[in-house]
């Protein structure tokens, strides 16, 4: 894993116009590449050394932005929109259904490592609210029934 991270960092250094601003970009890349969609401790240390940024600074950034995680996430990262348009379109029921089906709360991962549930800000799909995002895919016009179907399909390993 460490050689892989090293590669990501040196790649990030080489392909940007500016070299001063690659920290957030590099963290995104690491998170995308590492299984579990997170930034492990070893990676943080390596980023700090390679980019010559104090460890405290790296953690400062890492903990500020909600999309970064230092905890391992599930195979499917479910982000639920908790903004007002989704809220008035019965989004509360969607959140309830997700928590019941997965038996976890926000920022938790199911025991089988399949699902992580997180909140997200507005996904900009208010025309089809309530909306969730699973990995990089959007699902709109949700009802509790639809949510249960999606979860069950993913549990069975089917495509949705």
């Amino acid at each position: 894993m460490l050689t892989e991270i090293k590669k990501i960092i040196s790649h990030a250094k080489s392909e940007r116009l500016e070299e001063r601003d690659i920290l957030i970009y590099t963290l995104h890349k690491i998170q995308e590449t590492i299984e579990g969609n997170y930034i492990p401790e070893e990676a943080v240390k390596l980023v700090s050394e390679e980019l010559n940024i104090p460890l405290s600074k790296v953690y400062e950034v890492l903990t500020f932005y909600s999309m970064f995680s230092i905890k391992k996430r599930g195979k499917y990262l479910i982000r639920v929109c908790t903004s007002l348009p989704c809220h008035v379109a019965n989004g509360r029921e969607i959140i309830k259904t997700l928590k019941e089906e997965l038996k976890i709360d926000f920022n938790q991962t199911t025991d089988d490592g399949l699902f992580t549930l997180e909140e997200t800000s507005c996904l900009g799909l208010c025309g089809v609210s309530p909306v969730i995002m699973i990995n990089n895919e959007y699902y709109g016009d949700l009802t509790p029934k639809k949510v249960r179907e999606i979860i069950n399909k993913l549990k069975r390993g089917e495509n949705i």
Partner: protein, 602 residues
């Protein structure tokens, strides 16, 4: 070359994709091949057409026939009937009031006919991944005109004369901003596009980036030329993966065609653009916080002045414009300032893209001239309430904005008029609320958002908004007092006056504006422990009307806490002490026998 008899535009905006656009397209392609029509029919995946609640959508040219709510079966039928035999398939056409089928083509449908498209002129019309389609719609003509025929000062003058104001929220004159950056001393300057649209309920920037990415590249290059920058950054939300992907493709195409890079169009002007991806922090939409984030730091704002035009990214003069603002720039340069001024009002010229969401029939994006009234927007374009319930208010401007009650719906929508009502145009989110929405709950909702998104740097915002949230929470639980309402008002004004950045300075607005127009709802919560909209759980109870209950047991079976009892075919009853107020019973009752009452039954 074979003659193309039909072109199918199929909406590949985020909403339509989530509604199954891909499977519709797959069927179309398969069927078209089956009938050997592939040489005569072209399928183009476009950006968002706007009418998100009706997706997936497609338009078949040359007639301009508009089909909505498509399914794979619909696609099959349309190929067999429309494309093969020339018969329009009525069941997928737009339906007006009471199921009336609206005559085609698309431009005659009320949702579209009242719109004037400038910022979104190409969205939903061209293939965003094809630079030639952008050029065919006069794309990069403005860049050519600016670089070859105009001095940077002249470009700035045209933008100033057009009266274009920042569409991200504050409404600051764009030309003036450019002039500050131009005049600011420095060899290296930056041109930044703020694509960190975070206001809940606003999604015009995503739609423009996904549907017409080249317009942003063209506008940024023109702006770069005008202010004297050599590098540009688009700060884009990570929540918008499709936008990132399409903009990346567009950037490469623009470089290939010589619209970006060294010596653009053979002139001595060089400029390039890169994307910087956000990581989920609302405050990064604030310009100084955004620049910190590009620099790889925590996205915390700082005191202004110095303004970005003086000391911006890495301390260099920088200019930041929002996506929708930039999208207006190429047509302004190409057609001139007066062309733009033919729409809108004296102080707010041009058009604005609004995102209709909430309790309205036609949700989605609409671009209309400034000065249109809220009533026209909500009823004529938005189609009014989808359920027939009374529309009570509209919330504008997201967490920085406020609510406007129904009696003010004849107000023209422009920066000044809305501000007078205690709301703002903001980035253009319009969330329609009806009688089922509780104003205290709405205010609490926005405060919860702000508490979450406050970066924590200044005390009034960090501590003050939290305190306000706690009071609102108390009120929705029926534990508030009249004194709490006074505290809310005072605290709100203090936070407004003393916060460091725009996020904190506007955070109390949802509370202050709901207090201004709906104080009676607050009072009902604290005095009578009633929630007039029957939304606040602690203040309502579910009851069964013995006259209407037929004893079908549907409610008892669905109740998660087993608090409904009664024999088959006999009147049922809810045990209030065990009821969790989830509302499952009301959903399944087919006889309308269950209702909510407020205040709650002890």
């Amino acid at each position: 070359m074979p003659l193309e008899t039909n072109t199918i535009l199929i909406c590949a905006g985020g909403a339509c994709i989530s509604a199954g656009e891909e499977s519709v397209k797959d069927v179309l392609e398969r069927k078209i091949k089956e009938y050997n029509l592939q040489d005569n029919i072209k399928i183009v995946e476009t950006g968002c057409m706007g009418a998100c609640s009706l997706g997936p959508i497609m338009v078949i040219h040359p007639e301009g026939v508009y089909y909505q709510k498509l399914t794979p079966e619909a696609a099959e039928k349309i190929v067999e009937e429309h494309l093969l035999k020339g018969r329009i398939v009525e069941e997928y056409l737009y339906q007006g009031d009471k199921g009336k089928i609206v005559p085609q083509p698309q431009k005659e449908i009320p949702f579209f006919s009242r719109q004037v498209k400038i910022a979104t002129r190409n969205v939903g019309i061209i293939d965003p991944l094809n630079i030639d389609e952008y050029i065919a719609r006069d794309g990069y003509f403005a860049l050519h005109k600016a670089l070859k025929e105009m001095k940077p000062e002249e470009v700035i003058q045209v933008v100033k004369d057009s009266g274009l104001r920042g569409r991200g929220g504050a409404g600051f004159p764009t030309g003036l901003k450019w002039e500050f950056a131009r005049k600011s001393p420095g060899d290296e300057k930056y041109m930044i596009c703020n694509a960190d649209e975070g206001d809940p309920g606003a999604f015009m920037d995503r739609s423009i980036l996904e549907g017409d990415p080249h317009t942003i590249i063209e506008a940024m290059t023109i702006a770069g030329y005008a202010i004297g920058a050599t590098k540009g950054f688009v700060y884009l939300r990570a929540e918008y993966p499709i936008a990132i992907e399409r903009l990346t493709v567009a950037l490469n195409q623009a470089r290939e065609y010589g619209f970006l890079g060294e010596n653009i169009l053979g002139t001595d002007f060089s400029f390039d653009i890169e994307i910087r991806i956000g990581a989920g922090a609302f405050v990064c939409g604030e310009e100084t916080a955004l620049m910190h984030s590009i620099e790889g730091k925590r996205g915390q704002p700082r005191v202004k002045p110095p303004f970005p035009a003086q000391k911006g990214l890495w301390g260099k003069p920088s200019n930041i414009n929002n996506v929708e603002t930039l999208a207006c720039v190429p047509p302004i340069i190409y057609h001139g300032a007066n062309w733009f001024r033919q729409w809108g009002t004296e102080k707010s010229p041009g058009t604005k893209v609004f995102a209709l969401a909430g309790k309205v029939k036609n949700t989605g994006l609409v671009e209309v001239p400034m000065g249109i009234t809220l009533r026209e927007l909500i009823y004529e374009i938005g189609g009014g309430s989808p359920t027939g319930k009374k529309i009570k208010a509209v919330q504008t401007g997201g967490p920085s904005g406020g609510v406007i009650p129904e009696e003010y719906f004849d107000t023209p929508v422009d920066y000044e008029s809305l501000q007078k009502l205690g709301a703002i145009v903001g980035s253009g989110g319009l969330i329609v609320l009806d009688e089922d929405d509780c104003m205290v709950d709405v205010a609490k909702f926005f405060l919860e958002f702000t508490v979450d998104e406050s970066c924590g740097k200044c005390t009034p915002c960090r501590e003050g908004t939290k305190k306000m949230y706690e009071i609102l929470d108390k009120i929705t639980k029926g534990e508030g007092t009249e004194e709490d309402i006074e505290i809310l008002e005072n605290l709100g004004n203090v936070i407004k006056d003393s916060s460091l950045c725009g996020l904190g300075q506007t955070a109390p607005n949802p509370v202050l504006s709901t207090l201004r127009y709906y104080k009676d709802e607050y009072l009902a919560h604290v005095r009578e422990k009633k929630c007039p909209a029957s939304k606040c759980k602690a203040l309502i109870s579910y009851v069964i009307d013995p006259e209407k209950c037929v004893g079908c047991t549907a409610c008892a079976r669905v109740c998660p806490s087993s608090c409904i009892s009664g024999e088959v075919r006999k009147v049922h009853e809810i045990d209030q002490s065990a009821c969790v107020k989830c509302g499952s019973c009301i959903e399944v009752c087919r006889f309308g026998a269950i209702s909510k009452v407020t205040p709650a039954i002890e």
